[in-house]
Amino acid sequence: MSDTPVPIDTVEMPYVRTLGPVISRFFTGLRDGEIWANKTRTGKVQCPPFEYDPYTGESASDDWVQLDGTGTVSSWAWVEEPLRNHLLQEPFAWCLIRLDGADTDLVHAVRVADKGQMATGMRVEARWRDERIGHLRDIECFEPA
């Protein structure tokens, strides 16, 4: 084996994604500091919203509901060493968050002072950025409520 360090190549591409009407509505809400969810035809509340019901492939309904930024951690994974493009640059938890009023989970980061504070079932609330652009990062992270 040689001692030569392994070369690193960085592959990077910029993307501009067109959102379509359903996701556009969700992201427009985030920019305005609001969280919106849509309903499937069977009445299930989806947040984040989808154009369809993932279980059947049927199109979703046009019925929308606004949610508060509060919810419960369904599950979590601790990140001790964040990567350069993670949401937070300090240790944090990737979480599945069931927002109050929703039937599905949202993936986001939860900031706590140390790992010992993390628990499934803990209550969290969204911490909004002051400058919002219409992006999931308009919620900086969730924090214990």
Binding site: P7, T10, E12, P14, V16, R17
Partner: protein, 176 residues
Amino acid sequence: MSDDVKVLNSVVSLDYERPPTRAARRYTEAVGEKRLIAHRCPECERLYTPPKGYCPVCVVLTTDEHEIEVSPEGVLVSYTVTNPDKLHQQGGKTSARGDVMLDGTRITLMGELDGVEAADVHTGMRMRAVWVELEDGRLPSSGGWGAVGIKGWEPTGEPDASREEVQELLKKAGES
């Protein structure tokens, strides 16, 4: 509504570790000495540069014992002049790229053509490799198609191969 958020800007950025193979290390060392090495398949005798460490046609491994040096000079058998700014891309300048068939081989390598005006490029020109400089013993990223370690090709100034000779080379290259 007109002020709805309709697009999402994102950058996908990933770091890859690429440990070089033995064949790639020897190739890099040779480039540093302005030499071009290849592997000759022990079964079909096809030449590969840079060496792959195997022949994909015969599915056999090749190693140092199959390494030979090949000429970094050859004949321009085809080319194109690209004007990327005329299409829908931003930026990019007019440049010529061509396929050079290395002397004594059936290998064609693609690369930028240097030292000749785009308008003067023609098939049959005799070309030689313009080598890249190693950075800390490493090959810089090639940033596109083309032979690794070879920045491009420049005319040797020798007399052209004739049209018939070029067709003969292409025919030979096409024989399986």
